[in-house]
């Protein structure tokens, strides 16, 4: 499946949901600063990968799916769980990209600062997309090779 950019999906998100993410993002960044000044750079560095924003985004995704299903006359609870789980699977793949980001930044920052940021972002993009592509290929192969486990059925959400 080709990756698509769709502006119409923004209509699903309500204004206060954007506000929640802005406030959470700002709060986590400020919190990381507090942790770094209290416990040092290394403990503060751990919190650069804190999934605090993920809690909000996965919950919003689940509620959007539920809302859509409710409007169609179904409860939508299971659909919401599936959508959030798919988001979590994406985050697991993205965490490999985040690892590549941190490693690249760590290796380059003491030599060339601007290059370190650009190269780290490129590393995040390349590794995340590659991990996602491999994951899709494995899933496609499994689908052809044999039946899936029932608890993971229904991941065809797009």
């Amino acid at each position: 499946m080709i990756v698509k950019l769709s502006l119409s999906t923004l209509k699903d998100t309500r204004w206060y949901e954007y506000l929640i993410r802005f406030v959470l993002g700002g709060a986590v960044t400020a919190f990381t600063g507090v942790v770094s000044s209290l416990f040092g750079a290394s403990v503060g560095g751990l919190f650069l990968a804190l999934p605090a924003i993920f809690c909000a985004s996965a919950t919003l995704i689940a509620s959007h799916e539920k809302r859509r299903k409710r409007e169609a006359g179904a409860s939508g609870r299971r659909r919401g769980q599936q959508a959030a789980a798919l988001d979590a699977a994406g985050a697991a793949l993205g965490s490999l990209g985040m690892l590549a980001f941190a490693l690249t930044f760590r290796l380059l920052v003491e030599r060339k600062e601007t290059v370190a940021f650009i190269a780290a972002l490129v590393a995040w993009t390349v590794i995340s997309v590659a991990a996602w592509w491999i994951w899709r290929r494995i899933r496609a192969f499994r689908r052809v090779a044999g039946p899936r486990r029932p608890e993971f059925a229904g991941r065809e959400l797009t």
């Binding site: 986590v28 960044t29 990381t32 650069l48 999934p51 996965a58 689940a62 965490s95």
Partner: protein, 114 residues
């Protein structure tokens, strides 16, 4: 004032990545943005400006442990939702305990410093 700047820069970076994630399809691909380095970009930029490259390098190294913890966290959330059928909010919040244990577990196993 420093924390207000952190709040605004972090909020903007997170919102920008979240917006991009909202617009992308399929959902599995958009999920990659759940692990976007938005907080890291804001924090490392400020760290570099305030404390210099070696301080930012230490944070970057510790972030690697955090990223491994995020991998464990995401897998646990996925299983809580699909296998045990938890709702999104309790699953994502309770799995934060997994993130803390893995992140600090690796941190202390590495000798308590990055």
């Amino acid at each position: 004032m420093e924390y207000v700047a952190r709040f605004l820069i972090g909020g903007l970076a997170v919102s920008a990545f979240a917006l991009l994630g909202d617009m992308l399809r399929p959902k599995g691909f958009a999920g990659l943005f759940g692990a976007a380095p938005s907080v890291a970009l804001a924090t490392l930029g400020i760290a570099l400006w305030q404390h210099g490259a070696s301080y930012a390098a230490v944070q970057g190294k510790a972030m690697m442990w955090g990223a491994l913890a995020l991998l464990a966290y995401s897998i646990v959330v996925c299983h809580l939702l699909m296998r045990w059928r938890w709702n999104a909010l309790p699953a994502t919040i309770s799995a934060l305990l997994v993130w803390l244990c893995v992140a600090f577990g690796i941190y202390f196993a590495a000798g308590g410093s990055a």
